[in-house]
Subunit: 356 residues, 2 copies
Amino acid sequence: MKRLRLLTPGPVNLHPAALAALAQPQLHHRSPEAGELVRDLRERIARLAAGTGGEAVLLGGSGTAAMEAAVRALFAPGARVWVPVAGKFSERWCEIARAAGLEPVCSAHDWGGAVPPEAVPAGPLDGVLLTHSETSTGVLQPLAELAARVRERHPEALVVADVVTSFALAPVRMDAWGLDAAVLGSQKGLMSPPGLAAVVLGARGLERLRPAGYYLDLVRELRAQRARQTAFTPPINLIEAAAAVMAALEAGGWEARFAWVREANERFYALGEAAGLAPVPASGAERSPATAAFYLPRGVPYPELSQAFAARGWRVAGGQGPLKGRILRVSAMGYFEPGELERAWRDFAEVTAGLR
Amino acid sequence: MKRLRLLTPGPVNLHPAALAALAQPQLHHRSPEAGELVRDLRERIARLAAGTGGEAVLLGGSGTAAMEAAVRALFAPGARVWVPVAGKFSERWCEIARAAGLEPVCSAHDWGGAVPPEAVPAGPLDGVLLTHSETSTGVLQPLAELAARVRERHPEALVVADVVTSFALAPVRMDAWGLDAAVLGSQKGLMSPPGLAAVVLGARGLERLRPAGYYLDLVRELRAQRARQTAFTPPINLIEAAAAVMAALEAGGWEARFAWVREANERFYALGEAAGLAPVPASGAERSPATAAFYLPRGVPYPELSQAFAARGWRVAGGQGPLKGRILRVSAMGYFEPGELERAWRDFAEVTAGLR
């Protein structure tokens, strides 16, 4: 059976450089070549996320593993952290903070809206857990503004951000924005298979790191990775894939890549709006380049819509949590063969044209 | 630069079925095909490790991630567990138990020796953490006998085993031996890339499961995986690779595979002993089929020996912990092209012939 091509906001169609890396004979993770790949990918990730001021720690696992590792490494049980919840992934921060024994203050915001910087609470705060691109709603949260307000009101609080679907897709400026840690995964902007994640630490994040747990212990991993090793057997094939993709994207220039993804995504919005579909991101909210999200017209069942795309060879995504069955999401953040994205736009326009 | 072929006890040369799976377009982990792969691999792993009585939980991470997940899910902080330490991997059980807040009783045994069943301590015990194939020394520990003695003396204690380098390489009979949980990884007998692990649970293991942590929480994962889902984005490409390799190996028959690996490994022992090298496993200890380990003759530096193999296109392994610089390890558990293993044996004989 032919496999559907992915218009989903992660995982995405693999970059040819990732596929080429995966076709290589198995590398031993204790070889000099593997050490060089670990160094190379750590540097590329840190440079893109934090300029010259950060350091990346690679982890074998999903983005969620990196979220948990960051929370446990940066906050002691009982720590008071603010989590503005405006979608499934900010909700996850809240769940992880609770599971790690922190005392999160989780404020509820509209799914589809931007979290206003005024929402930053008063009172003592050890940190905040923010979501940059909220993939479940398609909103790019005002991370710079939120971080600035936190720094102003709570100078000692650590600012931790999920940049899973903004890293390598939109600017992430840890240094300029005052982020102390950011987490990401391999299966989004890096166009590689899932299974590799990273925590990027700024200067304050590095200073405040504490040992926590075993497999996800960032102190142990950082020590090993500074010596071009890893504490445990890493997903070295995925490290090689992600490093190869980053090298290829860097050669084209990040600003060009960001503009391309944003425009490709905006094209989906233009086509959807032309078909009468309402975007999920509220009018005051910035749209994430990682996904275009639309409310379904009343009476249109998502499974049928999904089937209509599948019949044309595409896999699309629906809603999560309270948006399940109520929205449609597509994404241009993966790799497209020449002409393939144009075909996706055309099919998208044709399928959605019949909806109302 | 041509990549060295691996004679290392993990990772290993990839099976062609794994490479073919990795060359496929990216599958979405929420697709029906992915759900089917999750079900298929869970069933294959459980059937091989536990007959009809077990259930497997897949995890994105290394074997160490599965070790930690099992410890946290099966024992509460303060639990008293016995860990017989006779190599680097049994030592790791001890470290994980401490990191998880248990009270491990870690008894020291000779590296290279078998742990005698008489060593099972008296006194109250909530569980034991055992290592089947101790990859750092080449010893296959008497898991059945150790488990039987634990069951006899401590009927309520849970028996947890690391079968990372025995699974799919030698018989593992959780039901017959009375194991409650076993952990494994993708990069050994499954001849796939590293980054996927599993915990197989027997009936008592399933009964006693408790929620612990977030990303490595077996309760959460088991619930999701029983519905052919995963709690978080799984390394679905590695799941597809491992399932394809297991299907290929099953077609050839597991007993034939076990015999082949054992004989291939014994051939290394025969060649090494003919060259005057002393095996690391003591005479009373059973040899693991996963690796042949030899003491280096006095005055032979490991780096030079490793270089001699590299000059012939092979990567071999040295010692870990107290055996670092003192031993040589080779392994036949990976995939070999026709004629390749014969070449490995010949090169091994020629390189080691010159050592004393």
